[in-house]
Symmetry: C2
Subunit: 198 residues, 2 copies
Amino acid sequence: MARIITISREFGSGGRTIGRIVAQELGYNFYDRELVDAVAAESGMTPKFIEEKGEYANSTRSFLFNLAITGGTAGSSLSMYDRVFIAQSKLIKQFAQEGSCVIVGRCADYILRERTDTLHVFVHADIKSRVERIVNVYGETDKAPEKRLAEKDEKRRVYYKNYTGTDWGNMRNYQLTVDSGFLGIEKCAQLIIDCARE
Amino acid sequence: MARIITISREFGSGGRTIGRIVAQELGYNFYDRELVDAVAAESGMTPKFIEEKGEYANSTRSFLFNLAITGGTAGSSLSMYDRVFIAQSKLIKQFAQEGSCVIVGRCADYILRERTDTLHVFVHADIKSRVERIVNVYGETDKAPEKRLAEKDEKRRVYYKNYTGTDWGNMRNYQLTVDSGFLGIEKCAQLIIDCARE
């Protein structure tokens, strides 16, 4: 039985919805927005700032590089991004310690990589399904949703690379990856629950 | 219901065994060794040659490059590798047309990419599980099984790249990827059957 489930996901793939279903079915805590609010409370920054900076890169200079040039001290030379990452990492580890949970995004797979009671999942989908989802479900009104998807994915990819040194969406880092465009949201949730119960 | 299931796999991950279980459970044809024999019969080459050349690269010059420099004619300038690939592709398409089946390896996911009645799966596992498997199940006696695994994977990767122009093991090309080291052979087979029945 996996006590902790991390769900990484492409933007618009429904990974958050899938995570919520999995958490409800298993009776696990669910951390997504909840994590944003907790990081905000911990760091004194606003939830809006955390949401924007906590998963999307805006710089190509990596956290690992910053740590290296500061000699590993999390000192005053660290950026606001780095501070958010540090606060997030601390809380993710704490939540994982406290009880069974599903955590969506935020490099949780990497942050919890040394635990053995985890199931790491990645949810992806074809562009067409994701565009449909962000327009119909998220209510996005952008005139070029494909471009927005590509930008969001790229920012997540760079963020992940910056903070983990490894590639976002490399299936070898996940015990299960699912295509929600093909399988559907409900089926993906079922598969994850099925694996978690193993 | 997916009528055709392709299973790509890392060497030693048990993908072939998983494919056999799936085929048996669903009552589908199963093509692995069977495909080697059919290609041999079709091409006049020996099964041993097909097995060696039909999935492992031995050259960095790609099929697509060869086709380009010969102006797209599959003429006498094509290598034995290329001839095996062409014979394999033809048979894979034919088998897929003839009836429900599970096909293991041999770029079948790419060759059948335009069909819509398919489920494409990739099976991977950590090095430790794969070493255990090739030593205990396949009976490999090599003194450096890790090195052998790495070489086999690399040859499959290069072969795939040469013949498809895309990356081997990119999860976005698969509706499902599973870690057989973590989930176990039986569970992986069940998950695939579950998705195929969807």
